[in-house]
């Protein structure tokens, strides 16, 4: 939680106009299609980086379903976020293969290097660190993924170096 109440984000009631237009554009492409909630949410999150409440309301309006239903979908799936993330998203794999190959030590090293808690964003806003269940590169365990780039065969030291130099 931010200590000073003066540095709060802009009120959620008045979203940037550019962002609003972007959400509308996504909605326009999906209008009339059934089962569009998840792809729309995915695209909106892709453009905005997260799903602000106003966007959820706009999506509900656009797809003509209750906002509660959209919110229900958002909170069910691990992919969706209600809070903004840092500039880079670092996913640390804790799948079975990575777990038995030292994922706990790797994630400890990364969190220590970035001075951040799991699931949180660094103070400078550069990294958000998340744990995931498997990145599908199990034979290179332990594995992490930063944005779209995957790094395998890590040791705590290698992982530390990667986030430091990224």
């Amino acid at each position: 939680m931010s200590k000073s109440s003066k540095t709060r984000l802009p009120r959620q009631g008045d979203p940037p106009l550019g962002d609003q237009a972007r959400v509308e554009r996504v909605l326009a492409r999906y209008s009339g299609r059934i089962g569009a909630v998840i792809p729309v949410l995915q695209e909106v999150q892709e453009t905005l980086g997260y799903l602000p409440i106003w966007a959820i309301q706009a999506i509900a309006l656009g797809l003509e379903i209750p906002a509660s239903q959209v919110y229900g979908v958002v909170t069910f799936y691990a992919q969706f976020r209600l809070k903004p993330i840092g500039k880079h998203l670092c996913k640390v794999c804790h799948g079975t293969a990575c777990h038995v190959s030292g994922a706990t030590e790797v994630s400890g090293a990364i969190l220590e290097q970035l001075r951040v808690l799991e699931g949180a964003t660094t103070e400078d806003g550069k990294f958000t660190v998340e744990s995931v269940a498997c990145l599908g590169c199990c034979s290179l365990a332990p594995v992490i993924m930063i944005d779209q780039e995957t790094f395998g065969r890590l040791s705590p030291d290698k992982a530390r170096k990667i986030v430091k130099e990224f």
Partner: protein, 598 residues
């Protein structure tokens, strides 16, 4: 199978760029190759391919010489590229010490392939997955053509029934029978779904096939659509597999352009369209009814069956849902005949199975072996045994729904029934190999942590029961286990099993039940003696400094968060056991291996 049909006049160089190849640095190798080849004006054509399965040797580079022989280099780095270009492409002599496979000579890694039989992986790593021409050159879409031009739906279904193919997504239901149900279901509109959710952590078979041979999945789904009378299909792929999604989308565009997808396919009155749906990160969406709810845009919660998808599936319409690997088998079966497939395997499990070998195995990767092979053969012959020569302790099969098969049962034959007898399940094909450093109580705790987080919350026993089990397991691994905990776990296991609606809850106790069955003594040691036999559970370890190794560098004393280590520079340090919180920082930081955890 020869990798190329037309003999190239020049060298053909193929870089493995599946997710694993890329993660190991394949792109850098590719650019280095490109640069070096350009500069040297070497007579080389550079392309890429998917995963051939030798993930332990990534990045891999295949070289096909002008005579058509194949050489594979392993662990290629940008630094190694110059020598390969110079000696092999310009000097015509392969760099033998870096070769892992070659048609003209025997190499130690040959045993990785010796016992494999590749049907599902028939094209993986041998062609460019983004080229429909290369797929066509390898008999691609011939099975589809045969089906829609020369067979009726019943004949297709009969061929699949004759093959004995059982669903590769885990449960092993006969595929032909499933298709028959969907075929007989009444309805104008029907759907075909491919389950590419692959949620089992530690498994990557489906990813490799989707990335390495996307057209074969399309072809399998098209044949299914023809057999059951569907004209629309969905490919549901995990969000974590962006490369697979991109390659599938490209495959759909290419197949449509050549008339293998879309309206009036190959001039017949069979039409079929396909959509790719990306998952949004929920393990339970691998369950078929939850998956369909997710496609419909809802929370992915499973529902009671019946009705089965074959009668009431996606949007209430008859639907056939199969796993990626199941579909990948279909074109082969249609071309070679059901009997050829049924000739492999055991009485009740036919054909082959793809396994993802990971964990403490020497050769981690993707392998496809005939059913009926033993676990020992897979781990020791194909997989090359345990990493660093350690001792084989157990293999985890089936992920969170499966269990740990101990070393003593390594001669178990791989087929659905035999694996189920051990208490594990065949599952989708993840094999995570454990060595003597693995604590089995901790492994059970790890899986319960997973299922507890992934439970959708619909059934009380699954939602609350897994949480209680996790609490008990956690306290055992932290040295706070009590007499009666084992019995409590057994009781909870039984109740969660019977009172859960879907497979997630019904199978969540399996990792606990199998470890209790084969490694009960480890549970007892944790509870009664407060001892972790594998020296894994930190809270149960005593940290001591070996005076013969300690150099007095003081690093351990400096990293200890509770000042439990004392000592003077250049003198042996000591741990105060009454202060130690068992965090293990000293062990990780000591550069002289002087801190011993016992």
């Amino acid at each position: 199978m020869t990798p190329v049909r037309l003999k190239p006049k020049r060298y053909k160089v193929v870089v493995g760029l599946g997710s694993c190849g890329i993660a190991a640095g394949g792109q850098k190798v590719r650019s280095a190759l490109q640069d070096t080849i350009d500069r040297a004006h070497a007579p080389v054509e550079l392309t890429e391919t998917g995963c051939v399965g030798m993930c332990y040797r990534e990045p891999l580079v295949d070289v096909i010489d002008p005579g058509g022989s194949l050489f594979t280099y392993g662990n290629v780095t940008p630094e190694r590229v110059a020598r390969i270009v110079e000696e092999h492409f310009l000097g015509q002599t392969p760099v033998v010490e870096w070769l892992v496979r070659a048609q003209t000579m025997a190499l130690p890694d040959d045993s990785f392939f010796a016992k494999q039989k590749r049907i599902v992986l028939r094209n993986c790593g041998l062609m460019n997955p983004e080229s429909i021409d290369q797929y066509l050159a390898r008999d691609g879409y011939r099975a589809l053509t045969k089906a829609i031009k020369t067979m009726d739906a019943e004949e297709v279904i009969k061929t699949i029934m004759d093959s004995g193919l059982r669903g590769r997504g885990g449960a092993g239901f006969p595929t032909g029978m499933k298709w028959q149900f969907a075929h007989s279901a009444r309805g104008e509109k029907k759907y075909v779904i491919c389950n590419g959710d692959e949620g089992d952590p530690g498994a990557f078979m489906d990813r490799s096939v989707l990335e390495g041979d996307p057209h074969s999945i399309l072809e399998g789904m098209l044949i299914c659509g023809y057999a059951i009378g569907a004209d629309e299909g969905y490919l549901y792929v995990r969000a974590e597999y962006p490369l697979a999604v991109a390659r599938l989308k490209k495959a759909i565009v290419d197949a449509t352009a050549l008339g293998y997808l879309g309206k009036n396919i190959l001039g017949t009155d069979f039409s079929f369209q396909l959509h790719v749906k990306e998952g949004a990160g929920a393990f339970v969406c691998g369950e078929e009814t939850a998956l369909m709810a997710s496609i419909e845009g809802k929370r992915g919660m499973p529902r009671l069956r019946p009705p089965f998808p074959a009668t009431s599936g996606l949007w209430g319409k008859p639907t056939n849902i199969n796993n990626v690997e199941s579909y990948a088998n279909i074109p082969w079966i249609l071309l070679q005949g059901g009997a050829a497939f049924a000739a492999m395997g055991t009485e009740k499990s036919k054909g082959t199975k793809v396994f993802a070998l990971a964990g403490k195995i020497a050769r981690g990767g993707l392998v496809e072996v005939p059913m009926g092979i033993t676990i020992r053969e897979v781990i020791f012959e194909v997989g090359g045994g345990i990493k660093q020569g350690r001792e084989f302790k157990a293999v985890q099969m089936g992920g969170p729904s499966g269990g740990c098969i101990p070393a003593g049962l390594a001669d178990t034959v791989i087929d659905y029934e035999s694996v189920t007898q051990t208490g594990a399940i065949m599952g989708s094909g993840g094999m995570v190999v454990l060595d003597d450093t693995a604590c089995m109580v901790e492994i059970a705790r790890f899986f319960l942590d997973f299922t507890q987080k992934e439970s959708c919350g619909k059934c009380t026993f699954c939602r609350v029961g897994t949480k209680r089990m996790l609490e008990v397991l956690t306290r055992i691994t932290q040295g706070e286990g009590k007499e009666g905990d084992i019995e409590l776990l057994e009781d909870l296991c039984e109740k969660v099993k019977v009172a859960s609606l879907c497979g997630l809850g019904q199978t969540a106790p399996n990792p606990v039940l199998t470890t209790l069955r084969y490694f009960r003594d480890e549970y007892e040691a944790h509870i009664r003696e407060k001892r972790c036999p594998a020296h894994y559970c930190k809270k149960l370890l005593t940290y001591e400094i070996d005076p013969l190794r300690c150099t007095g560098c003081t690093i351990c004393a400096r990293v200890c968060p509770v000042q439990a280590i004392s000592g003077i520079v250049k003198q042996v340090h000591a741990v105060d056991q009454s202060l130690c919180i068992h965090c293990g920082s000293c062990v990780t930081k000591c550069r002289f291996d002087a801190v011993k955890a016992r």
